[in-house]
């Protein structure tokens, strides 16, 4: 009964989304107030029905209702409750329901909290959201219905792929989708602005919080995914330039560019049509990512059993959304009037450089991801484009971005003085030199020298962000109390930027060190054998049988000692999941500031008690995720800035009530 309610709710949501996607649009064009007024109740209705469907599906998972085909294929009674719940989005159909659920929540947010928006803009934004919702609901109902019944119902389900039964991965899809769908808001605002023919600072103040929130969620989502790959796949790596990783990384790069260019629109009323284009591209790339993952055209760990119908549907959707929005852009963008002028050396100039390099970087990653498809389509043979390609093309493009991030943040708007800024950054430059110097002192090869520059860039970003804040709060230049007062008065967006840029430095240090100085040892070990790695001794104590709730397996025990003192025990596991008929490797990891000790248990030798083991030392690897989370944290801090608060007055000092129509301001 409940799955049928879910099914009906989806159909009702489809009908409502069609109304939401058409009437307000026509109403805004013909100035019919009643038609415009449809948008808000429609957004509420869509939310109500989509959420109902989502919880109906969750109910089927929680109660293990195997008469629902989707549950039977992806769940099992013995599965822990967390994975029964996350199993809802651990499969194609359910993840699409999550997608529209998040879309509906965002739509409701605009409908409820968007009272400061001009009515016609709000109606158009909600209408575009309605159309996107319509397309995805149709996709769900016609190609991937999660509520299909099985008759007779099987007694037991097939289970969820055990490598997906993991807390990190349980929350990875919701965060990614918050990011993707968040970009749909920027997209809707962009398309609505093109229809209105008007982009102004007020528009940017509306778009930026959505973009920022989406970007934070996407950053966390990608970080969770990469952290999961690190500890679950047992290869000691954290980023494989796998097509599906790239599919989330491309929207992230474009979204990062959008985040920065929206500042220029807001502060200087310039780069308008470029920002609108980025908003369209960020969402288009999110859709393309969905297409690449869901259609199975690319080989990857995420390739769910592919279905050509779905691929064709999403491809048509892509053509319609990207083609339609770009056509609209081509017609309307030339009419957008440019605003403030600026010299090449200025804050705006630095942000333009940031935008150019980030979008070029995104294009390079996109090309590398699609190249095997293109070559194969033209009969050029089957190739794979892996890390070597991306390391030689993408990384050099990002170096100037990071160098400029610190300088750009200190340049003034309109016309900057680069010599003066470099002078103020003396200390950061010294830190960078120390970074390069110390690391290249220990360097033996060219690779080490390049890595030393990576560490130098990391030091530059961290120290540069610190200098920026220190200067703004006049640290060491007067009484501490004065600095504290200034620190409290500093806009949250300034703090957010400094935190995010510094966090990027932390991440760069982690990426550089773990890629350049990783140590790997593979050997056969009998109980009592010792492996020496990077100053640590790992004593293999043997392996014992273990039994989990829905698996059994072997657990190896390593005692880690340093300078004769025991500091930890590592317990890598090999698990066998009988319900899913598959095995997983659980690495044993000791995370330290200086790096991770990472142990994997391989096969047992037939004749004696020896086990194949693989031990890694990954220097500074945890810094990558700490950096990523801090970076998202910087975004959140910036999001709490008064200026970005919904309906907030323009400046902090202005004590007036929110103006009903900020566009006129």
């Amino acid at each position: 009964m409940i799955p049928e309610i879910g099914q009906f709710a989806l159909i009702l949501a489809l009908v409502i989304s069609l109304i939401q996607g058409t009437l307000p649009l026509v109403g805004a064009a013909k100035n019919r107030t009643q038609w415009i007024a449809v948008a808000r109740p429609a957004a509420r209705g869509q939310f109500l029905f989509v959420i109902t469907a989502f919880f109906c599906l969750m109910q089927a998972y929680v109660t293990s209702d195997f008469s629902v085909a989707n549950v039977a294929h992806n769940s099992h009674t013995l599965k822990p409750m967390l994975y029964k719940v996350s199993g809802v989005w651990g499969n194609h159909e359910g993840s699409m329901v999550l997608w529209v659920a998040i879309l509906a929540i965002f739509g409701l947010a605009v409908a409820e909290f968007g009272s400061a928006l001009p009515p016609s803009l709000k109606a158009r934004v909600l209408a575009i959201q309605g159309l996107i919702g319509f397309a995805f609901l149709a996709f769900i109902l016609f190609t991937s219905n999660p509520f299909l019944r099985l008759d007779p119902a099987p007694l037991e389900g097939n289970g969820l792929n055990p490598i997906l039964q993991d807390p990190g991965l349980a929350f990875h899809p919701p965060f990614l989708y918050l990011g993707y769908v968040g970009f749909s808001m920027a997209f809707s605002f962009a398309v609505a602005a093109l229809i209105e023919g008007r982009v102004d600072p007020a528009w940017a103040r509306w778009v930026r919080p959505w973009t920022l929130a989406a970007w934070c969620a996407l950053t966390v989502g990608i970080a969770l995914g990469s952290w999961w790959a690190y500890y679950e796949l047992g290869w000691g790596g954290w980023w494989f330039w796998d097509p599906v990783e790239n599919a989330s990384f491309i929207p992230w790069l474009v979204g990062t560019a959008l985040l920065h260019s929206a500042i220029v629109v807001e502060k200087r009323d310039a780069l308008k049509s470029w920002t609108v284009l980025l908003a369209i591209l960020a969402f288009s790339m999110s859709l393309l990512g969905t297409f690449l993952v869901r259609s199975g055209v690319l080989t990857s760990v995420h390739a769910f059993a592919s279905d050509p119908d779905r691929g064709v549907f999403i491809l048509l959707l892509l053509v319609f959304v990207i083609g339609g929005s770009l056509t609209l852009y081509a017609i309307r963008a030339p009419g957008l009037k440019g605003g403030g002028l600026f010299a090449p050396i200025s804050r705006e100039g630095a942000l333009v450089l940031n935008n150019l390099l980030l979008t070029t970087g995104a294009a390079v990653v996109l090309l590398g991801t699609l190249y095997p498809l293109i070559l194969d389509a033209f009969g050029g043979g089957k190739v794979s484009v892996g890390p070597p390609f991306f390391n030689t093309t993408f990384v050099p493009l990002m170096v100037p971005v990071m160098l400029a991030a610190v300088i750009g943040a200190m340049l003034s708007w309109k016309r900057g003085d680069i010599a003066a800024v470099l002078g103020r950054l003396k200390i950061a430059f010294i830190f960078a030199l120390i970074g390069v110097g110390v690391t290249s002192f220990f360097a033996g090869t060219l690779k080490d020298v390049l890595a030393a520059f990576g560490i130098g860039i990391a030091a530059w970003l961290i120290a540069g962000s610190a200098v920026e804040i220190a200067e703004r709060i006049a640290l060491f230049k007067g009484p501490v109390a004065n600095s504290m007062r200034r620190a409290a008065g500093l806009p949250r967006s300034a703090w957010g930027m400094a935190i995010a840029h510094g966090a990027l430095g932390i991440m760069v240090a982690g990426i550089t060190a773990s890629s350049a100085w990783r140590v790997e040892k593979i050997q056969l070990m009998q109980p009592g054998d010792v492996v020496e790695i990077s100053g640590y001794s790992l004593i293999f104590e043997g392996a014992k049988k273990i039994n989990g709730p829905n698996y059994h397996g072997d657990r190896g025990i390593f005692t880690v000692t340093k300078d004769g003192r025991t500091i930890a025990a590592l317990t890598p596991e090999k698990r066998d999941y009988p319900a899913e008929r598959s095995q997983t490797t659980e690495a044993g990891i000791l995370t330290m500031v200086s790096g991770d000790l990472y142990a994997v248990l391989g096969d047992k030798n037939q004749s004696n008690a020896a086990w194949t083991t693989r031990i890694y030392f990954n220097p500074l690897v945890a810094w990558i995720w700490v950096g990523a989370i801090l970076m998202a944290g910087g975004g959140v801090v910036s999001l709490t800035d008064r200026r970005l608060r919904v309906g907030a007055p323009k400046t902090a000092r202005q004590k007036t009530r929110p103006q009903p129509n900020p566009v006129g301001a």
């Binding site: 390739a303 294009a363 390079v364 190249y371 030689t392 093309t393 095995q583 194949t612 693989r614």
Partner: protein, 151 residues
């Protein structure tokens, strides 16, 4: 500065970035991409540069996977059911590696004709067949109704 000049700066900067990116991409496409061959390709195609890294895929031939007794090197044969190639791999074999299932390996052919793998990719579940392997089996005429033909 006039609007036109500003736009010109913008365009020049854009062109410079794109030019750099294009140069980087073209050099990388020259030698940083990895080709895929089937065991039959390795026998019939003479133009394959054998000293380069490439990928080979097919099925792990039944009865050929020798687990190491006193070492770490796994030996097995990959087949497209027409031709075979012997593979050796030092390290830990992925969890989802079975005789009779699809696998893709990355490495180089050694002087003795054995393919020395640096990576073994078998990260898919038993229902899934790497597309390259499926294509290789189709080409060797051993593909029937979405499955490798049982022999």
């Amino acid at each position: 500065m006039t609007r036109k000049q500003r736009r010109m700066n913008f365009v020049m900067l854009g062109l410079a970035t794109l030019g750099t990116a294009a140069a980087l991409v073209l050099t990388a496409l020259e030698d940083k991409i990895v080709f895929f061959y089937s065991p039959t390709d390795l026998v019939t195609k003479t133009t394959i540069p054998k000293n380069q890294q490439f990928r080979v895929g097919g099925l792990v031939k039944e009865g050929t996977w020798k687990k190491p007794e006193n070492g770490l090197t796994h030996n097995f044969t990959v087949t497209d059911l027409r031709h075979d190639i012997a593979i050796s791999y030092k390290g830990i074999i992925p969890d989802i590696f079975r005789e009779g299932q699809g696998v893709v390996v990355l490495g180089k052919v050694q002087a003795n004709g054995i393919f020395r793998a640096d990576e073994v990719l078998a990260k898919h579940d038993e229902k899934y067949m790497p597309p390259e392997v499926a294509a290789a089996l189709k080409k060797s005429g051993k593909w029937e109704g979405g499955k490798a033909r049982a022999e």
